[in-house]
Symmetry: C2
Amino acid sequence: MIALSPDQHKIIDAAFKRFSKTGPENTTMAQIAKDLGYSRTFLYYYFPDKESIYKAALIQRSNRYFEAVQKEMKKKIPAYKILEGLVKIKIGCGKDFQSLGVYTNMTLFKILINDPELKYIFSSEIKMVTKIIQSGIKDGSIIKCNASKTAQNIIDGLHGFSAVGLRRLHVSPSANQHDVTELYKRQVDFGMFLLQGIKKG
Amino acid sequence: MIALSPDQHKIIDAAFKRFSKTGPENTTMAQIAKDLGYSRTFLYYYFPDKESIYKAALIQRSNRYFEAVQKEMKKKIPAYKILEGLVKIKIGCGKDFQSLGVYTNMTLFKILINDPELKYIFSSEIKMVTKIIQSGIKDGSIIKCNASKTAQNIIDGLHGFSAVGLRRLHVSPSANQHDVTELYKRQVDFGMFLLQGIKKG
């Protein structure tokens, strides 16, 4: 992917705040420009439309998630523990993706779901989880299984739970802290449940 | 719940066909009446509005699911096997609930999500799964665990996977048979993965 300039990061951060507050579908380029004290011309110089800011925000947050997991993968611990770490990191990032409407209305997300760069990110995640499972089979912390199929089941399971959990709790960007904390706890509990079947010993 | 008359069953079946074809949100009372060759007055005599037919259809299909599981529960097999049966039955019923938009757009489903009768159905499902898990702990086919929490995780996991799976495959009521079969296989595989962590031995 193309590296982002400091100005682009600033724009993404401002857009992100707006997306979280009013939802990506209700955010306008004019609002983002106003929040930054920029002219609209300046904004359009960097991003041709809202969709491109949205996509850049998705990529930026995905990269943060990948970087956190890669840090985890360097630890000298059994791969099963690394997988537990990944699940917790992923759930922790959930609030970011929720702000982007990934799990709920998906208005903008739907448009991008077949974007090649995002497809690459999705497949990279599966590859990363597959790699951890393969290490776990080797180091004896994970049972013998079809690693890539298992990775797909774990990721699908987590995404699905987010979608259902958010609906059930009616979590909106303005949800109260108690609901969000409650959901986080339920998600981690579910994530650990999901992994328990491949734990060895 | 109130028992349905043969006429009501006939109306629900006709409505169901319409819901599957054009989506519940695009179905009208006039269409349903026309399909049946009934006058609209006759239809309104049994159901005051489309929402009430929709709700009756949801309840009817839920009852079929419950009855199939209860039949399974009478079998003299380990409770873990009964739980596997339940998961397969639930996934098999998925097409019905998909036609009602339960996993996807949820237009009408959202209105009813807090309906007392439907809430009772949701909680009955959890209770039924909890009971099976408790039997499994007793008969030694399921590991010791918090049965009701585990039941919630299993049901949430299955619902979530349906939501995500249907989106990914872009399954619409007019989806081709290959996609539906593929999704069914993936769902059963996920369901078995979900259960594998509580299997004893």
